[in-house]
């Protein structure tokens, strides 16, 4: 693990899938913004749970049920501390960022939105941080306002300040753009939002596994992230937010586990976090996420960030050696996300040809169509870095792009 400060880190060995060959060549996985690979310790945690501890949680008195409950609640604590939250916050497990934002939109909508109120998002949001707010606006008569960006892919902060006003009730901004890699000035955004009395929600889908997160330091009300983008299992994510506010929000899904008492006439709800966790939770998911967070912490978030920054700098430099390549997203503060276009080659054809060399990148609109519209491109090719990537991976990418250039001269 100490190798992480080096370009040529050895973390690959922790990830069984990275030993795999694709079309006869070793896998080079550069699609980390879509989902990350899983270290053996996460897989082992899942196996251990299902082989030794599996049970439903809550209210069971038998041994397994208690063990499962303890581990599930310990997972909640682990996430809370990973995000730098204290016990004025509540950590709610969801199926992912998308559900977390839907839950927040639902609860905040009924609690505080009136017609003509405003919700602020940015030009670079992922669909999951656009559509829930769009539908909420339709339902409540509130208005969606968009913080514009520069050509480099940075938020125009003076425009943000101009847009922010007394009618602004919610400011929902991505921490890191999944297309541009831009790291947004969320501390400033949250503090300005708070001054105006607006609730802030930070979409941490692309930051939680790449930057040190401290929700209190950020000053955000809500922070959301997905385990599968953090080297953890699929099907689980997190909404972390102020317990007091969450207790005032109306429940989202309803069913078992979130109620105190039920008669056909009247149902009373529990408090957070239970109130927002209806039904049997994804217990194994929470336990796998814990293992992933332990892995991240053991590796060290600072080491991860500096490793990925080195690779980003190197990648940015060498990619420009490919003729006709244009990097989309040139913010001063970026994570390891490299979106690009190649003259005369459609991104889908780039991705297809790269696959041939075992290189996994993504092409398309990356669920950020309004951002594509801004750049007037139908799609981009995107190489996104993770903890296990190395300088060689970048070199392979560039070599393969030269081949693409030959196929499509």
């Amino acid at each position: 693990m100490a190798k992480l400060t080096d370009y040529n880190n050895n973390l690959q060995n922790d990830f069984p899938i990275l030993g795999k060959k694709i079309h006869g060549t070793p896998l080079i996985y550069l699609d980390n913004a879509a989902t990350t690979q899983k270290p053996q310790c996460v897989i082992d945690a899942l196996v251990r749970f299902y082989s030794e501890e599996n049970s439903n949680v809550h209210r069971g008195l038998h041994y397994l049920s208690q063990v499962a409950t303890e581990h599930y609640e310990a997972a909640r604590k682990r996430v809370t501390s990973f995000l730098g939250a204290d016990d004025t916050y509540s950590t709610i497990f969801t199926s992912g960022v998308t559900e977390a934002i839907n839950l927040a939109a639902h609860g905040l909508g009924t609690l505080l939105l009136k017609p003509k109120d405003e919700i602020l998002i940015t030009q670079m949001e992922h669909h999951s941080n656009i559509i829930p707010w769009q539908l909420l606006c339709e339902k409540t008569g509130a208005q969606l306002r968009i913080i514009p960006i520069s050509d480099a892919g940075e938020l125009l902060m003076e425009e943000f300040e101009r847009l922010l006003n007394a009618r602004t009730k919610i400011v929902a901004v991505t921490h890191v753009s999944n297309v541009l890699g831009t790291v947004n000035p969320i501390r400033e955004i949250c503090s300005k939002a708070k001054e105006q009395g607006a609730i802030s929600l930070i979409d941490g889908a692309q930051s939680a596994a790449h930057l040190n997160i401290n929700i209190q330091d950020i000053g955000a009300d809500f922070f959301v992230c997905s385990a599968h983008k953090m080297y953890g299992p699929t099907g689980i994510g997190v909404l972390c937010g102020p317990a007091e506010l969450l207790n005032r929000m109306s429940p989202y899904q309803s069913g078992s586990g979130m109620v105190e008492s039920v008669t056909f006439e009247k149902t009373s709800f529990r408090t957070v976090p239970d109130k927002f966790e209806a039904g049997t939770p994804h217990i194994a998911g929470a336990i796998g996420l814990t293992a992933a967070l332990d892995y991240l912490s053991d590796t060290g978030m600072d080491a991860i960030e500096s490793h990925e920054q080195q690779l980003l700098a190197y990648g940015t430099k060498v990619l420009t050696s490919v003729e006709g390549l244009r990097i989309i997203g040139n913010a001063k503060k970026k994570t390891g996300v490299l979106s690009f276009t190649l003259e005369n080659v459609h991104p889908h054809d780039i991705a297809q040809l790269l696959d041939n060399d075992g290189i996994a990148i993504r092409s398309g609109h990356h669920c950020a169509q309004p951002l594509m519209q801004f750049y007037h491109v139908p799609a981009t090719a995107r190489a996104s870095l993770g903890i296990y990537n190395s300088k060689q991976d970048i070199d392979s990418l560039v070599n393969a792009l030269h081949t693409v250039r030959e196929v499509f001269p």
């Binding site: 005369n344 889908h348 054809d349 040809l353 041939n356 169509q369 594509m372 491109v377 139908p378 499509f408």
Partner: protein, 151 residues
């Protein structure tokens, strides 16, 4: 899934680089829009009919090499064909894209379209190859000859 270099047959790369019948028709009878919002491909197809016969067929727009080359080849192959001949060819093309290759395919009416036979192995790309064909089919099979966009 197999080597994707095979996907990019010479003829596909050629039609992608230098698409035939590219650009508007001066006075089309029908303009069809073919788009796949999921990948951002958008084409316009310009069609001039003489009764049942396709007199001229042009296209314009943006998309990946597969969809663009397929559109280009379509315009070269369908010109002069009757509506029903065109639809037969479309059907054979669709069949080729979706099923295991057969002996007879090589010798069939598909002609140069056989270049797309590898697409079958790349399920995500079948839609690309079929995009403009399906849009055209939808107007050929409708009776009205008015302009209407299709997906």
């Amino acid at each position: 899934m197999s080597n994707s270099h095979h996907l990019y047959e010479k003829i596909i790369l050629d039609h992608n680089r230098a698409p035939r019948n590219f650009g508007k028709l001066p006075s089309p009878d029908i303009i069809v829009e073919a788009s796949n919002p999921l990948c951002g491909d958008t084409f316009q197809i310009y069609l001039q009919l003489d009764g049942n016969v396709i007199q001229a067929l042009h296209f314009e727009g943006n998309g990946c090499a597969i969809s663009k080359a397929s559109a280009s080849l379509m315009t070269t192959l369908l010109k002069g064909k009757t509506k029903s001949e065109a639809q037969n060819l479309l059907e054979s093309f669709q069949t080729m894209l979706n099923s295991e290759p057969t002996e007879s395919m090589e010798e069939s009416e598909l002609g140069e379209l056989v270049a797309f036979s590898e697409v079958r192995k790349f399920p995500m790309r079948i839609k690309c190859a079929a995009l403009t064909w399906r849009a055209l089919d939808s107007v050929l099979s409708s009776d009205e000859s008015c302009t209407h966009p299709t997906k």
